[in-house]
C-alpha cells in the first residue's frame, strides 16, 4: 500500500507539471490580456504593469519563474484583485468549495447507496424499476437545471430556504446548493451500486451465506455490499472531480463566494496567476481523490491488495 502511494506521488509530479505548463501556454494563446479593459490603458502604464508582473519576458522564462515560485508554495499575485495574492483568494474560496463538494459527495453516497441497495434487494419489482428510473432522470438532469429549479421551488415559491449567498456558513444557506450538486452523482452511484450488487448477489459466496440461514439484510450488508462497491469506488475519483467542476456552476447559480467563482472570474479577466493557481489546485485534488479511490479498492477487495 505504501508502495502504491509512493508510485502515485511520483507519477503525480509530472502530471501536475504538464497541467501547469499546458494551462500556462493555453491562457497566453487565448486572445486578450489582464489589462484589456473597456477603457484602454495608455501604452506607458501598460508597459510598466507588464514589466512589474514580468509579463514582458519570453514565455519559457515566465513558465520557469512561475513553476519555481509554485515549488515554494507561492501562487503569485492576482492581476485583477490588486490587493490580494492568489493564495489569499484561494484561502477564502477553498473552504467554501470543499464544504460544498464534501457535503454533496457524502449526501450523494448516502442517498445513492441506500437507493441502489433498496433496488437490488428486490430485483425486477416495481420498486426496483421505479428507483432506477428516478436514478436515470437524476443523472440526465445537469445541476445547472436542477439548481435553479430547486431555488424556484423551495426558495422563491415556498420561501423556506435562502437561494443566494453563503451567509458565513449558516447551514440553511448550504442546503439547496449541496442538494443541487449531489443529485446527478446520486443517480450515478445508485445505478452503479444496483449493478454491482446484482452481480455479487448472483455469486457463489452469497448462495453459501443463504445456505447458512443468514438473514437477507445480513447477507446484503456483510457479504455482498463491499465487493459490490468496487465500481462505486472507481466512480468516486472522477465524481469528486465532477463535483469540483460542477461547483463552478452551482457557485455561480447560488452566488456563493467559493473557488469556482474566482475561477470563472479569473478566466474572464485573463487573471493568469489566479486561473493557474485554481487549475493546479484542482488537478492536485483530483489526483488525490483518484489515489483515495485506489486505496479504497484494497479495503473493498483484499484480492486487489498488492
Amino acid at each position: 500500500m505504501i508502495d502504491l502511494i509512493r508510485r502515485r506521488l511520483l507519477t503525480a509530479l509530472p502530471t501536475l507539471a504538464a497541467v501547469v505548463v499546458l494551462s500556462f501556454v493555453l491562457m497566453r494563446v487565448a486572445p486578450g490580456g489582464p489589462f484589456d479593459g473597456e477603457r484602454p490603458l495608455d501604452p506607458q502604464t501598460r508597459a510598466a504593469l507588464m514589466a512589474a508582473y514580468g509579463l514582458d519576458r519570453p514565455l519559457p522564462e515566465q513558465v520557469g519563474r512561475y513553476v519555481w515560485r509554485l515549488l515554494h508554495g507561492d501562487f503569485g499575485p492576482s492581476l485583477v484583485y490588486r490587493d490580494f495574492s492568489v493564495t489569499d483568494l484561494i484561502a477564502r474560496g477553498l473552504p467554501i468549495s470543499l464544504t460544498l463538494g464534501g457535503l454533496a459527495l457524502l449526501l450523494a453516497l448516502l442517498l445513492g447507496l441506500v437507493t441502489g441497495m433498496a433496488a437490488a434487494a428486490r430485483p425486477g419489482t416495481r420498486t426496483d424499476r421505479g428507483l432506477m428510473l428516478g436514478a436515470t432522470l437524476l443523472t440526465a438532469l445537469p445541476s445547472f437545471v436542477v439548481g435553479p429549479l430547486l431555488a424556484l421551488a423551495f426558495g422563491l415559491w415556498a420561501g423556506w430556504l435562502p437561494v443566494s449567498g453563503w451567509g458565513d456558513g449558516y447551514p440553511p444557506h448550504m442546503i439547496l446548493p449541496v442538494i443541487a450538486l449531489a443529485l446527478p452523482a446520486t443517480g450515478a452511484i445508485a445505478k452503479l451500486a444496483r449493478a454491482g450488487l446484482a452481480e455479487v448477489l448472483a455469486q457463489d459466496h452469497v448462495r453459501m451465506a443463504r445456505a447458512r440461514g443468514l438473514s437477507r439484510s445480513r447477507i446484503l450488508i456483510v457479504h455482498a455490499l463491499r465487493p459490490a462497491l468496487v465500481p462505486v469506488a472507481s466512480y468516486l475519483g472522477p465524481a469528486a472531480a465532477g463535483l469540483l467542476t460542477g461547483a463552478v456552476v452551482i457557485e455561480t447559480v447560488f452566488a456563493l463566494p467559493g473557488l469556482g467563482r474566482y475561477f470563472v472570474q479569473g478566466a474572464l479577466n485573463r487573471d493568469y496567476p489566479l486561473v493557474l493557481g485554481v487549475v493546479t489546485l484542482y488537478a492536485a485534488l483530483i489526483i488525490l481523490f483518484n489515489l483515495l479511490a485506489d486505496l479504497a479498492y484494497g479495503w473493498l477487495d483484499p484480492r486487489a491488495r498488492r
Binding site: Q203, D204, H205, R207, M208, A209, R210, A211, R212, G213, L214, S215, V222, H223, R226, P227, L300, D301, P302, R303, R306
Partner: protein
C-alpha cells in the same frame, strides 16, 4: 430414527419438471449418495426443498418430522441455519472474498445461537479438518488458500454449528484426484464423529463407494435404483446404473488395446518455466524445472500430477502456447521455433483441446465456423469448398450430427461441445493432440464416450497424444506411457501398466490409491 424422508418429491422450474416422484430416506447418522449425470435433478433434489433454488417443490420432504414443503422462507432459513450444513462444489468462489477465514468461521459457529468461540476453539476446528497452521489461517483472506484448503475451511464452517444433516453437493468435483479421496474420507470421518447424517450428491458412482451407506441413482429426474452401496455397486439392477458403473475408469479394468508406436516426434530437453511469485513475495516460482520428455509418432503419453505440479505449464511450453524460459523442443528432429515465430504448418502439427469445452468455443460463432477457423489459418492450400468439405468430414468423424453445424455453443451439451473442440483440433490434420484435462469437466458417462472417441481417433490416424490429467485411471484408458510430475519435476515415468502395478515413488503410490 429416520432423520430425513422425501416422499414423491416433485420439483419444477417454470414448466419444466426437474424431479418427478423422488422418494428416499436417511436414518440419523447414516449417509445417502444421490448419483447421476448433470441435469438428472440430483442437485435440485437436495437444494430446492431447503429453499435454496427458485424451483417449485411439491410432495413431502420431512426433516426430523417437520414438513419443509410449503414452509415459509423464515422457517426454512431457521432450518438451514440450525439443523443443516451445506458444502458446495466450487470452493474457490464459495467464501466471501473480503472476510477473513476467522470472521466467516465465527459467523458460521454462532449462526444457530452458540456463544462466540475463542480463537483457540476456532483454530482447533480448522485443525480438525486438516488445515495446517490454523492460527495463521484465521487471519487470512480466502484468496491466500488453495482450492483444497478452502474446501476444508468450508467443511469446518458447514459443521461449526453442529447440524444434524450435512448436505454435500459435488464436494470434490472441482478438486484433483488426490484431494478428492482425502476430502471424501474427511467428510465420512466427521459424520461418524459427530453422528451427523450425510446427503452426498455426486456424478461419480465409484467416488462415493467407500463413503456412503446407501446410494440412490438418478436419471432424468427419477430415482431409477436405490439400495445399500455395496449391493448397487456390486450387482446393479437397472441398465442406467450398470452403464454408470461401466463408464467410470477403473484401474482394475482389463488393459485397453493401444495403437503401434513409430519414430520420435517430440523431444523436449531441459524445459524450464518460471513465474513471478504472486502477492507481495519477491522472486520467481519455478513451475517446471529442467524437464526432459519424449513423445513418439502414434504414442499417447500422460502427464499426471496434483494441481500445481506444473503439468499444464510443461505441456503448454512444449506446444508453444505458454511461456518457456529455457530448454529445447525438437519436432521430428528439427528445433521447434519460439512462440512468436511459429509457422502455420508448425501449429497445424500440434493442436490442443482444453478442459472447459464451452469456454473454449466462441459463444457468438456457429459450430461450422469454429471448426473452419483453424483450417483457414493453418491450411492455406485448401479453398472454400475444400474447407467446407473438411468441416463436414471431421464433424462426422467425431460423431456429431450434421444439423448441429449451424448451432452456437450455448445450444450444445458439454459432451457435444467437447466433440466440437476435438473436431476443431483434428481439422488441420495434426500429428499430435494436446489434451489438457479434456474430460475432467464432463460427467462420467459423457467423459467415457469422449475417451472412447479419442482412443478410436488415436488408433485410426496414428495420432500422438500428450494428455494432462490428475486421474491415473483416465490416463490408463488412453496412454502407452505415464509421466508423474510433482513440484515441477518428473518423479517417475514408465509404461502405464507397469507404473500402476508397481509405483516406485510415493506420489505415484498416492495417485494410484486415489484412483482405486
Amino acid at each position: 430414527m429416520t432423520l430425513l424422508v422425501a416422499d414423491s418429491l416433485d420439483i419444477r422450474i417454470g414448466d419444466q419438471r426437474i424431479v418427478e416422484g423422488a422418494s428416499f430416506a436417511i436414518e440419523a447418522g447414516r449417509s445417502l449418495a444421490l448419483v447421476g449425470a448433470s441435469g438428472s435433478g440430483k442437485s435440485q433434489t437436495c437444494l430446492a426443498p431447503f429453499g435454496l433454488s427458485p424451483a417449485i417443490v411439491q410432495g413431502s420432504f420431512r426433516l426430523d418430522g417437520e414438513e419443509l414443503v410449503g414452509a415459509r422462507e423464515a422457517r426454512l432459513r431457521h432450518v438451514r441455519g440450525c439443523d443443516v450444513g451445506f458444502v458446495f462444489q466450487q470452493p474457490l468462489t464459495a467464501l466471501t472474498p473480503h472476510l477473513t477465514i476467522g470472521a466467516q468461521l465465527r459467523e458460521a459457529w454462532t449462526q444457530a445461537g452458540a456463544p462466540r468461540p475463542s480463537r483457540a476453539e476456532m483454530a482447533a476446528a480448522l485443525e480438525r479438518v486438516g488445515l495446517h497452521d490454523p492460527r495463521e489461517r484465521l487471519d487470512q483472506y480466502p484468496h491466500r488458500l488453495s482450492g483444497g484448503q478452502r474446501q476444508r475451511a468450508l467443511i469446518a464452517m458447514a459443521i461449526a454449528h453442529r447440524p444434524k444433516l450435512l448436505v454435500a453437493d459435488e464436494p470434490t468435483t472441482a478438486l484433483d484426484a488426490m484431494l478428492r479421496a482425502e476430502i471424501m474420507a474427511l467428510l465420512g470421518r466427521l459424520c461418524d464423529e459427530e453422528g451427523m447424517a450425510l446427503l452426498l450428491v455426486s456424478h461419480d458412482l465409484a467416488a462415493v463407494a467407500d463413503n456412503a451407506d446407501a446410494v440412490a441413482v438418478m436419471h432424468a429426474g427419477r430415482i431409477v435404483e436405490t439400495g445399500p452401496t455395496r449391493a448397487v455397486l456390486g450387482d446393479p439392477k437397472s441398465d442406467y446404473a450398470r452403464a454408470l458403473i461401466a463408464a467410470s475408469p477403473r484401474l482394475d479394468a482389463p488393459p485397453p488395446a493401444l495403437g503401434p508406436i513409430g519414430a520420435p516426434l517430440v523431444e523436449a530437453r531441459q524445459v524450464s518455466v518460471s513465474f513471478a511469485r504472486p502477492g507481495w513475495r519477491r522472486g520467481r516460482l519455478l513451475a517446471v524445472d529442467a524437464v526432459d520428455i519424449d513423445v513418439a509418432e502414434g504414442e499417447a503419453v500422460a502427464i499426471v500430477g496434483g494441481s500445481g505440479s506444473g503439468k499444464s505449464t510443461l505441456a503448454r511450453a512444449i506446444a508453444r502456447l505458454g511461456p518457456i524460459d529455457a530448454g529445447e523442443v525438437r519436432w521430428r528432429g528439427e528445433p521447434l521455433p519460439p512462440r512468436k515465430a511459429m509457422r502455420p504448418r508448425d501449429r497445424a502439427g500440434l493442436q490442443p483441446v482444453f478442459q472447459d469445452p464451452v469456454a473454449s468455443l466462441d459463444p457468438l460463432w456457429k459450430v461450422r465456423d469454429i471448426v473452419a477457423e483453424p483450417l483457414r489459418r493453418l491450411r492455406p492450400d485448401l479453398d472454400r469448398m475444400a474447407v467446407a468439405a473438411r468441416v463436414e468430414a471431421v464433424l462426422a468423424e467425431v460423431g456429431l450430427d450434421p444439423t448441429l453445424a449451424d448451432r452456437r455453443p450455448a445450444a450444445l451439451s458439454g459432451g457435444q461441445a467437447q466433440r466440437v473442440a476435438i473436431a476443431r483440433a483434428l481439422g488441420p490434420g495434426p500429428a499430435m493432440l494436446l489434451l489438457d484435462e479434456a474430460t475432467s469437466a464432463l460427467d462420467v458417462l459423457v467423459a467415457g464416450t469422449i475417451l472412447d472417441l479419442l482412443a478410436e481417433l488415436q488408433k485410426q490416424h496414428g495420432l500422438a497424444i500428450l494428455m494432462i490429467t490428475h486421474d491415473l485411471a483416465v490416463a490408463r484408458r488412453l496412454c502407452h506411457r505415464i509421466v508423474v510430475m510433482d513440484a515441477g519435476r518428473i518423479v517417475e515415468e514408465g509404461p502405464a501398466e507397469r507404473l500402476i502395478a508397481a509405483p516406485a515413488h510415493p506420489i505415484t503410490a498416492k495417485l494410484v490409491a486415489a484412483s482405486r
